[in-house]
Symmetry: C2
Subunit: 714 residues, 2 copies
């Protein structure tokens, strides 16, 4: 009974205070989001309680029965304990206690898991990572059961389960424990949170500062190293979400029990920045699928539910309530209560997605990921000029993604993997993840001589990063450069999502400048989504026989559907994506071509999705430019039977290159033009002047945009 536990007896709870539990119990029926979250939890626990308790001897690898069962049991200990606190129903306390005692019986008999392979072995699970995650849940459950457990029970659970478990994680597996790596963070969180509950300061200290308490490893060191000063996690948003969980859950527990660490102020508040970064690295609720990423994942994942609830509790930022409302779930604790109350009190405001540059690297000097949004956040342009992102990184320097009208327009493949689908090689990364998804040609970026950046070598790629040399939220543009991906070739890309008064929608600008003293073949793919509706010129199409575009480095997976030869004028390609038209307007030299490529060759297991690319190609070139703009226009309405503006407002492009600067003219159909003036120098203080056909353009700094209502020089 909850009443058996007077608040004076209770130590400060790490995860759910008596007071919060009482408030949740009293108020949840007026707080729909909280009530729904409790109901979901109850349904899950009741389903498990309806079965016989099973704490099996560990046997199976990931996905197998004992693996899944231990995961479920661990979660259930936390959930049932929480439900006991917020409902007062003793059956939940009894169930959680039973499970804990069964684990206390089992654990002392266990050695390393029989299925362990390359990763360090756990005891309950094949990988020690899973063991650490398990304890993070279970210790929160134990925390909430303290008032109902007898001294005997406590003694059994602590002696036979918790202490040996901590020893296995921190001493026997000290290599993982002291790693400055996400696996180390989970171990630190498990051990540290156990220390907070058991009042064992030693556990807390080694969790924070490593086994030797030197601070060279442990949680604080991980905070120092694994995030950039802007809160960006180098593996990219998909893994950032995953990495975030132990950071914020342990930090929040620490903040409650030992607030003197001021952990959320640590390193200029980087943990909060990391939560915000996760939110900002998304479009329409889905994370930008940079590096190995499953595209389903987004802001509604459980990790972000934790992150958003914690961030709201700390900041009361009403924009977070909009995210929480979309998550349609809160954590059943004091933080979740606050969120549910905020939403019920209609304090929600729109979360403002802004243009922002996330620097990469612990010191913030390893390039970054730039996110440009249109004024109303309807469109987003993402450019990656960051570090490699470790083993899950893709060879995608200066690659970009483009979103508009709620959907992917120019996309990244993400990972070649069917998460947890056992018939797809057990759900692990597929061979095509390496042969296709990581390769440069799978990305919207430059590929030289049909080889991937750094020849596809991780070690080499990890030595350097892309660089963002210019970023302006005001102009909504950036310039990034890459000097190391190909020996002897440097490339620089200026991109923007430019608002003008001449067009209704922002115009995507893409100027790729390549320097090399030797001749190469340059390919620049655009993975577009939708159906081509217009091609300027007549392509030569593979009619009844198709071959691959190349032999290796991802090219072997692309069918060559045909190509369009280009005669030095503006090439225009329009496609329909949902109800919206998109036009790629591009300038290619007279020996250039547009290749129509389709993914799916050399795919004996049907592992690859069908995706389509327009590959811009220039062969046998040293210095070169790819100059393109993408316009979003018009509307297709099949229900009401009308179509607006199915053709681009862009009539042609021209590009004027001078010694230290260049001008891109975007000539519009109705007359008028947009001029993008770009200096080679990025210095913001320098003045530049360029005259073309009698008209003089003057600007300060790297980049400027001019609008001319009528095409004055023509």
């Amino acid at each position: 009974l909850l009443s058996a536990c007077s608040s004076s007896e209770a130590t400060v709870s790490m995860s759910l205070s008596i007071e919060d539990a009482m408030n949740i119990r009293k108020k949840s029926n007026e707080l729909p989001l909280l009530e729904k979250s409790i109901n979901t939890m109850e349904a899950e626990v009741n389903a498990l309680m309806a079965q016989e308790i099973d704490v099996p001897v560990p046997r199976d690898a990931g996905g197998g029965y004992t693996h899944e069962r231990h995961k479920k049991n661990g979660a259930a200990i936390y959930q049932a304990a929480t439900l006991y606190q917020v409902t007062g129903d003793e059956k939940y306390a009894d169930f959680a206690t039973d499970l804990l005692l069964k684990y206390a019986q089992l654990y002392p008999q266990l050695g390393p898991h029989p299925q362990h392979k390359h990763q360090a072995a756990g005891k309950l699970f094949w990988q020690i990572l899973n063991d650490a995650v398990w304890l993070v849940y279970v210790i929160q459950g134990y925390d909430q059961l303290q008032a109902v457990l007898t001294e005997d029970q406590k003694s059994i659970i602590e002696t036979n389960l918790l202490h040996p478990y901590v020893k296995y994680l921190s001493v026997d597996s000290s290599e993982t424990f002291n790693k400055v790596h996400n696996h180390g963070t989970w171990a630190a969180a498990a051990v540290g949170m156990t220390g907070l509950v058991l009042g064992n300061q030693d556990y807390v200290d080694i969790a924070l500062k490593g086994s030797d308490k030197s601070g060279n490893s442990g949680f604080l060191k991980q905070i120092d190293s694994l995030f950039s000063p802007d809160g960006y996690y180098t593996e990219g948003p998909y893994y950032q979400r995953y990495a975030l969980m132990p950071f914020v859950v342990f930090a929040r527990a620490l903040d409650r029990v030992q607030p003197q660490w001021e952990i959320f102020k640590y390193r200029d508040g980087v943990l909060l920045k990391a939560i915000y970064a996760c939110i900002n690295l998304s479009y329409n609720n889905r994370f930008f699928p940079l590096n190995d990423a499953i595209k389903d994942k987004g802001l509604d994942t459980i990790e972000l539910v934790h992150g958003v609830d914690i961030a709201y509790a700390l900041t009361k930022d009403p924009g977070l309530l909009a995210i929480a409302e979309n998550q349609n779930q809160v954590i059943v604790n004091g933080d979740g209560l606050l969120v549910a109350q905020g939403i019920a009190a209609k304090q929600k405001k729109d979360f403002i997605f802004k243009s922002i540059l996330y620097r990469d690297g612990a010191a913030g000097d390893e390039g970054g990921v730039a996110v440009l949004r249109s004024n109303n956040a309807e469109s987003a342009l993402v450019v990656k000029a960051a570090g490699q992102g470790m083993g899950h990184g893709h060879f995608d320097r200066l690659g970009f993604l483009y979103y508009d009208h709620g959907t992917e327009v120019i996309s990244d493949y993400g990972a070649a993997r069917y998460l947890n689908v056992v018939t797809k090689r057990g759900g692990i990364y597929l061979p095509e993840n390496k042969t296709w998804a990581k390769q440069s040609i799978a990305h919207n970026t430059l590929v030289v001589d049909e080889r991937s950046h750094f020849n596809g070598k991780l070690a080499k790629a990890s030595e350097t990063s892309g660089q963002v040399t210019f970023f302006s939220g005001k102009l909504n543009a950036l310039t990034a450069s890459e000097k190391n991906a190909y020996p002897g070739v440097t490339f620089e890309r200026t991109m923007g999502l430019i608002h003008t008064t001449l067009l209704d929608s922002p115009l995507l600008i893409d100027i790729m400048k390549i320097n090399s003293s030797e001749k190469h073949q340059y390919d620049l793919p655009f993975y577009y989504n939708g159906q081509l509706t217009f091609i300027s010129g007549k392509p030569e199409i593979a009619m009844n026989r198709m071959e691959t575009l190349g032999e290796d480095n991802g090219y072997q997976h692309l069918w060559n559907k045909g190509q369009l030869s280009v005669d030095n004028s503006t090439t225009q390609l329009t496609w329909l994506n949902g109800n919206r038209f998109y036009s790629l307007n591009t300038l290619l030299p007279s020996d250039g071509e547009v290749i129509f490529a389709e993914l799916g060759a050399n795919d004996p297991e049907f592992n690859l999705r069908r995706e389509n690319a327009l590959v811009l190609r220039q062969a046998d070139r040293s210095d070169a430019y790819f100059v393109s703009v993408i316009e979003s226009h018009g509307e297709y309405n099949g229900v009401k039977e009308y179509t607006l503006q199915p053709t681009s407002n862009v009539a042609s492009l021209s590009h004027q290159m001078e010694q230290d600067a260049s001008l891109l003219f975007v000539n519009l159909v109705g007359g008028g033009r947009i001029v993008i003036a770009k200096a080679d120098e990025v210095d913001a203080s320098l003045q530049h002047t360029l005259s073309v056909s009698g008209k003089t353009y003057e600007w300060q700094g790297h980049l400027a945009v001019f609008e001319e209502a009528t095409n004055e020089s023509e």
Copy 2:
């Protein structure tokens, strides 16, 4: 001013009574759906009023400026007049009057449209069909303006516009007017409605009974001929929606002014049946895309808004309110008022989608379209064994569609056309509509010797229809047969969506029986949506070079991605579609194969979508069977990272054929089996007995399903 028009002066209004107008004016602010519909109308009319009035001399073909402008003006006359009635704002009456007078000025000067081609010429538009549609709108507007127009104005409009317009439609273009065809229906509606408003009984009579008033043509004859007794329109749901509009709008007008015709009771109430048929021939708000069909179209099209509002006014069926609520729009008249009131009063009930057979042909003896739904309407199976459906018909005898979990699982291509997209050949049907979309291989049905049914000849196909020899809503199954598509070959297909206690989801059963005295190649494609996740056996895949599956009849558009040779055991193919898995289990003889085909060859303009088929093939066979079941199972959840049941519950199939009957055994993974017993005879009174491995099956009638909890005979 509305008050200038006392109700005693007014004749009965055809479209909107004074009383309804006053009620709408008083109540619309409490009726959100009605208010929204009025606001939409106002926004459209105000946008047009903000421009200068333009009634241009007709010049352009469909899609061009004058075409679109006349369409807009016609709709605006109706909308502005309606807005005047329901808001009392005189500016709307003035605007509609101005437009009418301008048309009265223009019309006498016009000859046949300069752009007219194969179709009969209109005057305002290139096709007379468009002229008829225009008048249907405009006469409703004129009807509502009568009280404000001066006698002079009326005289000008009637003398210079309405009477000559009717003469052009009914006398000068009498061939179209007297056609028993959709174009004739629009003409009849235009002329008849004009007669109702002008009090010209001659116009009403020729509209109802043809120019000679014999009844051999005209509206009544069209009702007799164009619908089956069940309300099915032979061109299929997409065109049924389109055809419906003049029928129901004219009928409703007639019903108001001359109720003595009892038009909605005519022919056993077939017009109401036709509205219900339209609704029933849909899944998740979209029409079944049989024949030439744009897949965007569904229950929210304006034609169905008219249909549903009228049907509700006549029947008060609360299920229709659910459809109306999804439409999110009502017609601004008395019927729409009733619908909006019903919804506001929360009288809505779920619309119950049931298993139903729609017979085709005026006499109901030309086969039909069978729709089978699962108990909760979550799945639907559609089998077409109907007439050819005229020029828009596809060569798809005994083809099927399968929907589940809200989406297409086994689909029909629909039409090869980008409606109104001018860069796709002006938005008309593309060449691939004939070379691909109509061909038999584009459908989930039998193709013999790589030729389409009836060799793709419309005239031949129109002589006969498929036949539905058995239909049971209780068993949720049917048998259909086709004897004419291929000389010397008959085929019969038994399909069902079978509920059992052994599986959570209904099982799709497909038994195709082919009889021929000569040897042929038989292909049976399944156009599946999604990503293959399991193939029993090892297919031979086209790795770096791909060729077409054939030369002609649609085969030239399919890439041959590879094939799986079959060894007389059950072949299993599983794919993931959204969050759900689907398994095709099929029995093929030892020389059979499964071909993996992908659409897109010989497509120089990128007109075709990428679609994938599993083509079951048996070569060099005379009599043959294709026996398959499709199971819907499991769940993929990428957000929460779990996957349930990604493999089929079906372990194997076996098929026992005897003299007059056959047994299909569906053996389940957990033991247990489902047995489908099928007699060759369809007679419901006949008793059948079959013994297999010591077990005896007895049943009455054509088809029976047995469940065996454990696989007793093994």
